[in-house]
């Protein structure tokens, strides 16, 4: 399916809605295609999934009341009827006193990344053969691989209209992305037994440069990383041991860092209104707002990817307001928070917009020219170097099931997963029984003592899936005083 076949209908619907005198409305056509492979028991394709969806989204506002619907994008008459119904029903709602009309420019923008025909770039036969070439020898070695490869193409055409000044804006986007995860273990009691204690590892990758060759390469990279971790575990001199609860120096792999930061954003902990109303940790007088001087945390419109690639994000939000990169932490200090339209009107603070749908996140550290006293952050090439520079600590390769425990304390919890080790004298010494942890992400960032210049891109958080994948470009970090609270059984 192609958006051009829906253009005449889109125009008819837009003109129909204009006549209904909404204060503001937006109309969006979305076409999404998804190809997914589920790998189980080292066979490349337990399930081979192919989904396509075409929807119309309409949102209208009148007298501070707003409502929306999503409908299958085939029946123009039916959608017109739904717009009429929405217009009739909207006035029976109580008004939203905090609603602010979106502010956007007059005009149109095309924002298209990648090829117009994703599936011609991804030959599924070649992709499956490439995966099988990686998997076949691993089956022989008795390794069990579980995994998932997801490729998504999303095409959207969205038009917004505002009555008072007859301003309209059209944004046409096409985006492509892929993400994959692999989990490796070496079950000794047969393919259907649970993983042996401590001998399981996983790795993830994301990309916006989608073709079957790239995916096979990334799959091989992720496999290599996960297998290396399993080998570390198998080479341990002792069986995995359970640590006593308490504070430890830990190295968080890039995957773990991405999970931690995405979760912090998911709970809106940087929302200025929540801060001002003392409904979140940063509203507390004792909140941690300073960090190592070279640290920058951004919602970025531009990511510098490995291999001299650049990712450019759409510079508009879902209401079509133009937006810029936000430096939330800059040079080690809390710099920018999220200010909504309503809160901007109420407080006169400048409004901040984050980019369309799910903006990319990046964490960076640059050695400051004039470091503060005690600001002793070690800079290494990559994760391996960071491990080598650590006398005594723990390596956490993945975090799992992160949740807020107390927002006023900024306290999160979660588990270690698929790769947890003791580091002694700069090398992996033995694997550990997985543990629960409780800690504060702001305190964690404040307690960075090391980082890797090598960063990894993740396109699919375990918490957030869906059509357009939030991207994170992050390094490995070494943290002091990370609080572990209780051991699991494996």
């Amino acid at each position: 399916m192609d958006s051009s076949q829906f253009q005449p209908m889109l125009e008819q619907l837009f003109q129909h809605a204009r006549l209904l005198n909404f204060d503001w409305f937006t109309l969006r056509l979305s076409i999404q295609r998804q190809m997914a492979l589920r790998i189980a028991h080292s066979v490349p394709c337990r399930e081979n999934i192919d989904k396509e969806d075409v929807q119309i989204f309409f949102q209208g506002a009148l007298d501070k009341r707003q409502s929306s619907f999503t409908a299958p994008a085939f029946d123009e008459t039916r959608i017109k009827h739904q717009i009429d119904n929405l217009r009739n029903q909207i006035l029976s709602q109580s008004p939203d006193q905090e609603w602010v009309a979106p502010n956007f420019l007059d005009g149109s923008v095309q924002w298209k990344s990648g090829s117009s025909d994703l599936w011609s770039l991804v030959d599924q036969g070649k992709l499956l053969e490439g995966l099988e070439q990686h998997l076949a020898p691993l089956r022989e070695q008795g390794l069990r691989i579980t995994g998932y490869v997801e490729i998504v193409e999303s095409e959207k055409i969205q038009r917004s209209f505002r009555s008072p000044d007859s301003r309209s804006f059209e944004l046409a986007t096409r985006e492509q992305g892929a993400a994959l995860t692999v989990t490796v273990d070496a079950p000794k009691k047969g393919v259907y037994s649970k993983p042996d204690m401590g001998e399981i590892s996983s790795a993830r990758r994301g990309t916006t440069r989608v073709n079957d060759g790239e995916l096979v390469t990334l799959f091989g990279e992720a496999l290599k990383e996960a297998i290396q971790t399993v080998r570390w575990q198998q080479n341990s001199q002792t069986r995995p041991v359970a640590l006593e609860p308490g504070p430890y120096t830990v190295i968080l792999s890039p995957s773990a860092v991405a999970e931690l930061l995405q979760t912090t954003f998911m709970y809106n902990m940087f929302d200025q209104r929540k801060i001002d109303e003392n409904r979140t940790y940063l509203g507390q007088p004792h909140a941690q707002k300073t960090f190592p001087k070279g640290l920058t945390l951004s919602r970025s419109l531009k990511l510098d990817l490995p291999h001299h690639q650049t990712y450019l994000d759409i510079p508009f939000n879902s209401s079509h307001a133009p937006c810029e990169t936000m430096n939330i932490i800059q040079e080690g200090a809390l710099h920018q928070t999220f200010v909504s339209s309503f809160w901007s009107e109420k407080t006169s603070l400048p409004e901040t917009f984050s980019a369309y749908d799910a903006p990319a996140l990046s964490l960076d550290y640059r050695v400051p020219q004039n470091p503060l006293a005690g600001d002793s952050v070690v800079s290494t090439n990559d994760l391996e170097d960071l491990i080598a520079s650590t006398e005594d600590g723990l390596l956490i390769t993945n975090l799992w099931y992160l949740r807020m425990v107390s927002e006023m304390d900024g306290l999160l919890t979660g588990m270690t997963r698929d790769g947890f080790f003791r580091i002694k004298n700069g090398s992996i010494n033995h694997s550990l029984v997985n543990m629960r942890w409780h800690d504060n992400p702001f305190r964690i960032l404040a307690n960075i003592t090391g980082f890797s210049r090598d960063k990894k891109l993740f396109g699919l958080s375990r918490l957030v899936g869906g059509g357009r994948m939030p991207l994170s470009l992050v390094p490995a970090l070494r943290i002091q005083g990370f609080h572990l609270s209780s051991a699991s059984k494996f």
Partner: protein, 560 residues
């Protein structure tokens, strides 16, 4: 009022829960619940009012469900595949959000399409589309077939070989075994009883209970905001397979919550009233009586602002049914999903500490602990008549007298238990999703001896009473967990002595259920639904119900 006979005749139906059948008191109570807005008309025929629209391209005219299904089955038959099934569906999600008494969002999301699944020579192919035209259906069906054939050429999933691993079948028997062998073709209909359709009701009939509740809450000092939300889900689904099954179902679930946020004493806290996510219509919204609970919730939110955190340590915990519902879901429901047990989900959702060999051996809890699955229970989110592989919903024991005795299974996973038949737990969230094993309606049986919550508190020397749920997290093997509560009180010498805040408990699954030393009787038993249970790749959101009476757990770690 039309009732569906399968609810009371299905296997697994329990006399002890007669109150939740259509002629029982709980159902009567909901059917007689006062309507806060008098314009909601009864749902026709006592089922979801969700007409199917089967459209094709304009030149083809309207085509009925039967024609759509027949076209797909015909292609599948011609292509000589081993097995195929389809789900033709229409779904509506309607949600409303309020801040204080203002409606901030009203969303109506409708989707319609078909998902086709093909099994061929040891591999699954799946394709879905919204294009129900003749050409669109043909393309989609061939995509599913091509996916299955391509996968089987690269490397078949080799299911028969794996089946031989555990099932005790000889190599030859295993190779010739078909996963659908024990399945019977069925022609049937099932409709979840719905008194008042939530999908077509006027918006103010959905929001009025929350507006009233918010207005009450905002009269209390320190209550700075009230956040409310209502989610309504309705679906019509036609299942068909190459064995000859054709099953039409309609299903509806409604869920609501209202959170009172207090800011005071240098901090912030909230208390939430929940609507329980049960199958049916607006009758559940009205019987949840949000306005009646608003004052108490506002008072408790304020109390939490001043309440101390308990010192970390071991406490006896008295957990209410709402708190237990989530603990049951995470620590009993997920680890007894057979696909997790067999390692299919190790890459994301995770595995299970329980194994097939543990069946009838593993001590899951104390002898008081009995868990029963029952997908025929009225109001249960998983009570859909049939699962998405066309297997009848049914009941089965999961834990009996503390011993693990059952797993939830699907056509593909059941043979690993030396059973040829699924117990009907393969579900797809939408027509465009692949069925996977999901948690059934799963509940903790009430205690056999008479015991009220007041009596349980009365015979507790020192402990914490925990109400509702809050923060939750569990490891991927479902062993180490942490749960919080929406409201907690310290209990000393048989009396509730004062509020606490930010109480969390940590434990290991079998240690926790093994510490259960008292469960209240049937009069205290309640059900609470789960509206969005995330699992699978691509992610799917399941719906099910959990029930419990308040129970006590000895010396559980509180704090961290």
């Amino acid at each position: 009022m039309k009732t569906n006979q399968s609810l009371s005749k299905a296997p697994g139906y329990r006399d002890s829960f007669r109150s939740f059948t259509p002629d029982g008191p709980a159902y009567q109570e909901r059917s007689q619940a006062p309507h806060t807005v008098g314009v909601v008309s009864p749902s026709p025929q006592g089922r979801l009012a969700l007409p199917i629209t089967s459209r094709g391209n304009s030149h083809e005219g309207e085509r009925g469900e039967a024609q759509i299904v027949a076209q797909v089955l015909e292609i599948l038959a011609k292509q000589n595949i081993d097995y195929g099934d389809l789900r033709l569906g229409r779904e509506i999600n309607r949600s409303v959000s309020l801040l204080d008494t203002n409606v901030t969002s009203h969303q109506y999301r409708e989707s319609e399409g078909i998902g086709i699944r093909v099994y061929h020579e040891g591999a699954w192919g799946f394709a879905s589309t919204v294009d129900l035209s003749v050409a669109g259906l043909s393309r989609c069906t061939m995509r599913a077939i091509d996916k299955a054939k391509l996968s089987s050429q690269i490397h078949p999933y080799s299911h028969p070989t794996y089946l031989g691993y555990r099932s005790g079948r000889s190599g030859e028997q295993a190779r010739s075994f078909k996963i659908w062998e024990g399945k019977q073709p069925i022609t049937a209909e099932f409709h979840t009883p719905v008194l008042h359709c939530p999908l077509s009701a006027p918006t103010d009939s959905l929001t009025q209970p929350f507006v009233e509740g918010a207005a009450i809450g905002l009269t209390y000092p320190d209550i700075k905001r009230v956040q409310s939300g209502l989610d309504c889900y309705g679906r019509r689904r036609l299942f068909a397979d190459t064995l000859g099954s054709q099953i039409l179902t309609t299903h509806s679930i409604i869920d609501g919550s209202q959170r009172f946020v207090a800011v005071g004493h240098g901090t912030s806290a909230y208390r939430t009233v929940n609507g329980s996510a049960l199958a049916g219509g607006l009758e559940h919204l009205y019987s949840a009586a949000f306005p009646k609970q608003a004052a108490m919730a506002a008072v408790e939110a304020r109390l939490k602002c001043r309440a101390p955190k308990p010192p970390s340590g071991a406490y006896d915990l008295i957990l209410d049914p709402h708190n237990l519902a989530l603990t049951i879901h995470e620590s009993v429901g997920h680890p007894t999903e057979l696909d997790r047990v067999l390692g299919f989900e190790l890459g994301f959702a995770g595995g299970s500490f329980a194994q097939v060999e543990d069946l009838n051996r593993l001590v899951y809890g104390s002898p008081l602990v009995n868990f029963t699955a029952n997908n025929t229970l009225l109001f249960g989110g998983s009570s859909t008549g049939f699962d998405d592989e066309g297997v009848p919903c049914q009941g089965f024991p999961v834990v009996q007298n503390g011993i693990l005795v059952g797993f939830g299974s699907s056509l593909e996973t059941a043979p690993h238990l030396m059973s040829d038949s699924s117990n009907g737990n393969a579900r797809s969230t939408s027509w465009c999703d692949v069925p996977i094993v999901r948690i059934p309606n799963l509940y903790l049986e009430p205690g056999k001896s008479q015991l009220s919550l007041d009596e349980l508190i009365g015979n507790t020397d020192r402990g914490i009473l925990m109400l509702g749920h809050d923060s939750f997290s569990i490891d991927q093997m479902r062993a180490n967990f942490q749960f919080g509560a929406d409201m907690s009180y310290l209990v000393e010498k048989g009396r509730v002595v004062g509020p606490l805040r930010d109480v969390i408990y940590q434990s290991l699954t079998s240690d926790f259920w093994g510490s259960c030393d008292a469960i209240c009787d049937q009069s205290e038993w309640q059900m609470h639904g789960v509206f969005n249970c995330g699992k699978g790749q691509p992610m799917q959101l399941g719906k099910m119900m959990h029930g419990a009476a308040p129970a006590r757990f000895k010396q559980i770690k509180v704090g961290f």
